[in-house]
């Protein structure tokens, strides 16, 4: 049986960051592909729009690290723009059975990044959220 309290501590609060998937406003899909398209008309292929991961994190299988002083806070390499990150979010809440539950852990982290990144040999503007 799934332990609901554990869900609140670990599961549902940590999805988008590791895959650089972004949550979207409204009901739009988060699975829009950014992979390079293989041209079938001999047109140039310069790569896709997927952001580059942080090189020294990606080689270890991670796309980000827990935010703290003096670490790379970005999830994206070749980026310039606004960024905020926080971790250790916690609080209380109530489930649909009326149970009062604590949520959050030291690694519950959220962030936004809004600005310019370089991919597919061109600069791109985008806003990302890490939930």
């Amino acid at each position: 049986m799934i332990n609901r309290r554990r869900l609140l501590q670990l599961g549902a609060f940590s999805l988008a960051g590791p895959s650089l998937t972004v949550g979207l406003l409204g009901a739009r899909s988060a699975s829009q592909s950014c992979s390079p398209v293989i041209p079938n008309d001999h047109s140039p292929s310069n790569g896709g729009s997927c952001p580059y991961p942080i090189p020294w994190l990606d080689k270890n299988g991670n796309h980000n690290q827990s935010p703290m002083p003096n670490v790379e806070l970005s999830n994206i390499y070749h980026f310039k723009g606004k960024l905020a990150r926080g971790n250790g979010f916690h609080g209380m809440g109530t489930d649909n059975k009326g149970n009062r539950l604590a949520w959050g852990t030291p690694t519950t982290d959220y962030s936004y990044m809004a600005g310019e990144y370089w991919a597919g040999r061109q600069s791109r503007q985008r806003t990302f959220a890490h939930t």
């Binding site: 549902a12 002083p69 905020a84 209380m92 489930d95 936004y112």
Partner: protein
């Protein structure tokens, strides 16, 4: 995400990220390799407020620089796992807290190199 999901106060010191119906996964046994997943949805509001304490994190060897301010960060959220009839609503934003938060401006990779040259 649509850029209008992220808004800033006129002085730039408060940022609000608000999203609804975000597709997520419920994965209680994460990070176990065989941790099962269940589709879920989340609405949330995240608010960062900068303090007056500046911070700069820079590593020329790794080509990154972050310049900004320490911040407070608060979160409220609503989670729904429809397949198991589970919902969870956090208490209001003001009751939450975080251990560490910063907000500012990041430059890395080729943009860092361009700024240095």
């Amino acid at each position: 995400m649509p850029s209008d999901g992220l808004t800033f106060s006129p002085d730039g010191k408060t940022a609000t990220l608000q999203m609804v119906n975000v597709p997520i996964i419920d994965q209680p046994r994460w990070p176990a390799m065989d941790a099962e997943t269940t589709p879920a949805r989340m609405d949330f509001k995240l608010v960062f407020k900068a303090t007056a304490e500046p911070v700069t994190y820079e590593d020329p060897a790794r080509h990154y620089r972050f310049e900004g301010f320490k911040a407070s960060a608060r979160l409220e959220a609503m989670l729904r796992v429809e397949s198991i009839d589970f919902t969870f609503k956090t208490d209001p934003l003001e009751t939450s807290s975080s251990d560490f938060a910063v907000m500012g401006f990041e430059t890395n990779g080729q943009y860092y190199d361009a700024a240095k040259s």
